[in-house]
């Protein structure tokens, strides 16, 4: 039995080595494409030389990279204090969450960028360093490392990183593509609320904004939502987030306006009407609140029926 297990294990090791070798031998597809036919609007090179540098101590490249990203976004960053707050697990999948949550708790918005080399370079070209997770070793034997992409040179085929204890690490574009892809091409850009990374998609922005609203002061969340709505004006979640943040910040009138707009643009949305009704009730507009709640009930959406009825009941009390 033990012998079978041992030979099985050996087989697995051999297979992993073979597949890793095959994989490592593969070419850096994106690197080749970018170098051979670079997008015309992407500068050939960029370097964010002013990006601060916090050399890592011990094993804490996460807090150091986070501090670098926060510093670049204009937030005071103390890697030692961050290390206390950002707990980095030795597990892929959850450890990135710590980085995102840590950034939020410092007041910054952390947005995931698309998993392409071009997106990462575009952010650097636009003046936004990208906090990236790299796997410096192999897929089956990972060695995780956080670094900050601060520049690149397409002609030379290089990227520039704030990494570990090296202020300006030069890595070949190929190596960067490999090690980054091996870590799931995970990269975030940190911004103050009100600015969004240029390459981020709608879904990433909604996720980032909703997460930010949870930890940020309502007024800060309002800034983030307003800026996001400039780009994705029709997005229901963003519209509701704006209304909720305005409501939480005490500006009921503006909140009602935001909910009214959400309700008008999304005729089937019950939550927009429930929140409009509740806000109008706060403002003393009982008739308006009742109208909105009645609309909510009439939409007869089973997912919200209970809440809609409660909203209507609230407007019918003496």
């Amino acid at each position: 039995m033990a012998r079978v297990a041992a030979s099985l294990r050996r087989l697995v090791v051999v297979l992993s080595v073979l597949s890793a070798a095959a994989w490592l031998g593969g070419c850096a597809v994106q690197t080749e494409a970018l170098r051979q036919s670079p997008p015309p609007d992407l500068p050939v090179s960029a370097e964010l030389a002013a990006t601060p540098f916090y050399p890592q101590t011990d094993y804490q490249c996460g807090p150091a990279a986070l501090a670098t990203g926060l510093g670049a976004a204009g937030f005071a960053a103390d890697p030692v204090q961050l290390a206390e707050q950002v707990f980095l697990p030795a597990r892929s999948g959850t450890l990135q969450l710590e980085m995102v949550a840590g950034a939020r708790r410092q007041g910054a918005v952390a947005t995931r960028i698309p998993a392409t080399l071009e997106a990462a370079l575009r952010e650097a070209a636009a003046g936004r360093p990208v906090v990236v997770l790299l796997n410096l070793a192999l897929t089956w034997l990972p060695r995780w490392h956080y670094a900050v992409l601060v520049g690149y040179d397409l002609a030379a085929g290089e990227v520039l990183l704030r990494s570990g204890t090296t202020r300006r690490e030069v890595m070949t574009l190929r190596s960067f593509e490999h090690t980054w892809q091996r870590a799931g091409a995970w990269g975030i850009v940190l911004t103050p609320p009100g600015a969004w990374p240029a390459t981020a998609g709608a879904e990433a922005v909604v996720e980032a904004a909703v997460g930010y609203e949870r930890s940020a002061a309502p007024a800060q969340a309002v800034l983030a939502y307003r800026a996001a709505l400039e780009r994705w004006g029709g997005n229901l979640t963003l519209q509701m987030g704006l209304g909720n943040s305005l409501h939480a910040s005490g500006d009921r009138r503006a909140a009602a306006e935001a909910f009214r707009r959400a309700a008008a643009e999304h005729p089937a949305s019950v939550p927009a009407r429930i929140n409009l009704s509740a806000t109008l009730l706060d403002l003393g507009d009982v008739a308006g609140a009742r109208r909105a709640a009645r609309e909510a009930v009439e939409l007869a959406d089973p997912a919200w029926a209970e809440r809609a009825r409660a909203a209507l009941a609230a407007t019918q009390r003496p």
Binding site: Q56, D58, Y59, Q60, C61, G62, P63, A83, E84, Q85, F87, L88, P89, A90, R91, T94, L95, L97, V100, A101, G102, R104, A137, L141, P142, R143, W144, H145, G164, T165, V206, E207, V210, G211, E213, R214, S215, L236, T237, M240, G241, G243, N244, S245, H247, P271, N275, A278, T279, L281, D282, A303, E306, R307, R309, A310, A311, A313, A314, R317
Partner: protein
Amino acid sequence: MKSTTRWMARLAAVCISFAGFVTSAQATLVSTEQVAAAQGITSPSAQRDRIYAALDRADVAAALQERGVDLAQARARVAALTDDEVEQVAHTIETAPAGASDFLGVLVFIFVLLLVTDILGLTKVFPFTRSVR
């Protein structure tokens, strides 16, 4: 049996709407996370309390303290996660083996892994890899 269930459900519904009735002087808004969940962006969850409850367990707290993890920090960290992220953690807890001692072990394992600042824990398992330092 069925009618009892139905009766209970009705009672629960009445209780809930009554609760809504009583507290609605303070208008209750649908949260953005609930809207996002309904839009299919994040999955709905009320798992956060579950994780807090796990942190509140005396044995878990003791085990964490033994490893130098501050409970207040752990709570603040959970608070900063979105419902979706909490779901991931809660899911890990839920799919843990159910045996009592085992379960505690897994809980502590998750929190220590999540909380301890040791990005390179994995590489320490493999001494022949070069340190990143």
